[in-house]
């Protein structure tokens, strides 16, 4: 990925996470090692280009998503299924938006269903990978290849 593409991709990630989780983008962060990940989601895509995207979430990010998308009743805690659904939707929206950013509006893609995968050091076997970290007041994103 060229530097310009990386900047475009980071802008897209910031916009998506900002809209879905109300988190202010704070800049580029380190990629998450396996042990730093709470959840990881894999999305396969085919069409104008084929590959896979892995989105890894640090602790707290999935909860922030749930709180914005479908907040639990007062006094209730989100279930593991809630956190997984939120992470999957984030990965799905990131995949759709990033592919458009990187390949243009004439490209067509079919996205596979997002699937939870065991945390692994990024990028593992993915075409590209994103690590998202919850920071005080917002979030930071790392991306590979950069």
């Amino acid at each position: 990925m060229s530097p310009a593409s990386t900047d475009d991709a980071l802008r897209t990630i910031a916009g998506v996470v900002g809209d879905l989780a109300f988190l202010t983008p704070l800049g580029v962060g380190p990629l998450l090692a396996a042990g730093e990940q709470e959840l990881a989601v894999h999305v396969a895509f085919r069409g104008s280009a084929s590959g896979t995207l892995v989105v890894a979430l640090a602790p707290g990010l999935a909860r922030a998503l749930v709180d914005n998308l479908a907040p639990p009743e007062p006094g209730c805690t989100p279930t593991a299924e809630d956190l997984a659904d939120a992470a999957k939707e984030l990965a799905n929206v990131l995949a759709g938006n990033l592919l458009a950013t990187l390949h243009g509006a004439q490209a067509e893609f079919q996205l596979g269903s997002p699937e939870l995968v065991p945390p692994a050091d990024l990028p593992a076997t993915a075409t590209f990978a994103i690590g998202l970290i919850l920071a005080e007041g917002g979030m930071m994103a790392g991306i590979l290849p950069a």
């Binding site: 998506v16 998503l65 998308l69 479908a70 939707e89 799905n92 929206v93 995949a95 938006n97 269903s113």
Partner: protein, 144 residues
């Protein structure tokens, strides 16, 4: 007139978020039903009168575009309003959806964007010529 609305998305969290957006809006909502894919959505529409479908595209079993084609080919169901709510950015695919009479809202969306598109679709239907199946007295579409 109350609107019966069907929210179709394979992600439960997103179904809840879209449903919540609709419930908190000024829309006069009747039944609010959810389905996890196009096949479930068609079954739901055959069981319950639906005025408006809020439709995801990328879903297992039957995706949104296949659902929309099946819907428009079904004389009993085809007059339902459809707004696609998707991450899709491909202009050729969005043009195909528009040709099938669907509105479009890009994910991630703000509640006001979704509601504006729904209002636009409703206004478009009110202004539609009276030769559509609904206005022509199709017994299923005339029910409510």
């Amino acid at each position: 007139m109350k609107l019966n609305i069907l929210v179709v998305d394979d992600n439960r969290m997103m179904r809840e978020m879209v449903s919540r957006t609709v419930r908190m809006s000024a829309l006069d909502v009747g039944e609010l039903i959810q389905a996890g894919n196009g096949q479930e959505a068609l079954a739901a529409m055959r069981a319950t009168w639906i005025d408006l479908v809020l439709l995801d595209l990328n879903m297992p079993v039957m995706d949104g575009e296949a659902f929309l084609r099946a819907l428009r080919a079904d004389t009993a169901l085809r007059a339902a309003l459809v707004v696609v709510v998707s991450t899709e950015s491909s202009q050729p695919r969005i043009a195909r959806l528009a040709a099938l009479g669907a509105g479009f809202v890009h994910k991630p969306f703000r509640p006001e964007e979704l509601l504006a598109e729904v209002e636009r679709q409703i206004a478009g239907q009110r202004g539609a010529p009276h030769d559509c199946p609904q206005a022509a007295g199709n017994p299923m579409r005339a029910a409510p």
